[in-house]
Symmetry: C2
Subunit: 340 residues, 2 copies
DNA sequence: CTGTTAGCGCATTCAT
DNA sequence: ATGAATGCGCTAACAG
């Protein structure tokens, strides 16, 4: 539907109609302090009558605050980032900020483009997921923005900006320990982009646990497609030291591992047990249900947003690196005798 | 990280540094028409040197266009709406629009709040999912916005605004026919909020198919929790005319139906077959895999966004009601002898 | 407590 | 093809 923009009432119109100066009306808009109660009531009534809505562009131009927070995530269809966006929106809104959403497809160039758009829109703060490979250009552009910034899920090299991440290392270490405690000896870490900070940390954690237990760290990164996952798994199944457990480094590889084991009729968890990093819908519904490392997305997101808002309010000035603990959600696929 | 806002270069600074008037610089920003080639190059160089980025607030104030599109969806964590948001963002961006995301929790009051926020930000167009119950206040506020509007997934009463929806009625009708073709005689339609347009249409379509076939329409709307779904299903399983098929009216009820049948060890699809409305991750991975009605979300979203952009460009003025066809994705749960 | 005034940065007549 | 001048709607001194 198309609509002709009517003549909207301006602050001046309100002032005139109420028989007061513009300052007073402006004060009412901004909380009504130092305004006589009757005056305030009158002006509010006039504003309602005229359907007055302040023009944010004008406010922004004058006040140098756009009441806007920029959000850059790789993709909004990834449930992990979607939940981040959801939480950020809610908390930002509580402080009268509005979220402008831009996605980066995890591409460095897109991310730079996004930053430029945000520069033009003069956002007051930025929440963002850094691209796989942080370039020097990225750092430059972040500085140029000259607003508070908090990175999410992955830190930015240099500790120059605040970040909120999961305890990928520790969580992976604990997950693998859990498999070792089940008596598993040959554990395959499967899948994930090795350029990703989170994946690298998880591999590092898993490797730590394995070497500490005197076990070999088996890692196959290429498992983003069913074929590749199957090849990787079957390679290790037919080797002399057959694997007896798989640690899925992220959602996709966990699900593919599950499918491969199902299709190959390899008993799970009896013959091969499975733990995945990241919970997912239906992880508890599949048979066997899948044991996973569950990140506290809500807490991650809330922490990041609050930290940003604190920075924006000037309450915190030094950059902070915050890590949020994940927990193991024990289901059936690891070998624990639990119900689904 | 906190940052002090540096003195950003303004259009005036650029003009001065380039030794030209502000008009010429403004022309360069807006496409560079009617500017001598050398001049254009020089100004662009100066802009780059000064890291000049136009202030959108000022442009908006002056031009009455914010280069902003408002997007209201019930929730960003719902994969259906997330994909809508993703597609909208991409297409909006191509036309140099930025998307401001607001969620409504499917609450009428939130939606009104969202509209007010958008009114202040002077969005140039609105994409939105109407709340369950459209009030007259909603219509008023939509009109007051006085910008092009396209509703998504659900129409707005009155055909006053454009809408893009799925062919819920027809798709449901076809799905139930498919079950009837399999020789199923007692089909239970399960779950969904009866206040939702989409659900009502699906029930209507299913009912149509059933009555046309001389079958009774069995409908149980209360199945949003496992307990309720189980009670509803088992009630119809133990009745004298046992159900032999279930039509899940939306994701959640389909999944719950699947779980109930699994837990009760009711052979699927032999004893009871299942079709769900809406595809979902792992629908093809579960055993048996689930046959679903798959909406063309990408097409829905693209159509809605393009329609809005067309309205905004003034290329289309009359409101349009567009319906996008869904298709049946045949897997195992309906009884078809297909591989998973 | 309240009004007057002066820009914020830009797009746009209107000249030239 | 270019420049000077005006004002978009609002906030923030400042004066009262």
């Amino acid at each position: 539907m198309t609509g002709i923009r009517r003549n909207r009432a301006t602050l001046h119109d309100v002032a005139k109609a109420a028989g007061v100066g513009t300052t007073t009306v402006s004060r009412v808009i901004n909380g009504g302090r130092y305004v006589a109660p009757e005056m305030l009531a009158r002006i509010q009534r006039v504003m309602a009558e005229l359907d007055y809505q302040p023009n944010e562009a004008a406010r922004s131009l004058k006040s140098e605050r756009s009441r806007t927070i920029g959000l850059i995530i790789p993709s909004i269809t990834d449930p992990f980032f979607a939940q981040f966006a959801a939480v950020a929106e809610v908390h930002a809104r509580r402080q009268d900020y509005v979220v402008i959403l831009l996605t980066s497809q995890d591409k460095a160039q897109f991310e730079l483009d996004d930053l430029q758009i945000f520069e033009r829109h003069r956002i007051d703060g930025l929440l963002f997921v850094p691209p796989r490979s942080g370039t020097k250009a990225l750092l430059q552009n972040l500085r140029r923005l000259s607003v508070p910034i908090v990175s999410f899920d992955r830190p930015i090299a240099g500790r120059e900006f605040s970040s909120v991440t999961s305890d990928n290392y520790t969580a992976a270490l604990n997950a693998v320990r859990h498999l070792l405690d089940h008596g598993r000896k040959r554990i395959l870490c499967l899948g994930g982009d090795p350029n990703l900070y989170t994946i690298r940390e998880r591999v590092r954690g898993a490797t730590s646990a394995l070497t500490a237990a005197g076990r070999e760290a088996l890692v196959e990164m290429d498992a983003s497609e069913y074929q590749a996952a199957e090849a990787a798994i079957m390679k290790h199944m037919s080797a002399k030291g057959k694997v007896d457990a798989i640690f899925g480094l992220y959602n996709q590889s966990t699900i593919l591992a599950y499918e491969v084991l199902q299709n190959r009729k390899i008993p799970m968890p009896e013959r091969v047990s499975l733990i995945g990093f990241d919970d997912f819908a239906l992880a508890g519904t599949l048979r066997p249900s899948i044991t996973v490392v569950k990140q506290s997305i809500e807490e991650l997101a809330r922490t990041a947003t609050q930290l940003l808002l604190n920075h924006m309010a000037g309450e915190i000035t030094a950059p902070q690196q915050i890590e949020i603990a994940s927990r193991l959600v024990v289901r059936q696929s690891c070998g624990c005798p639990k119900a689904g």
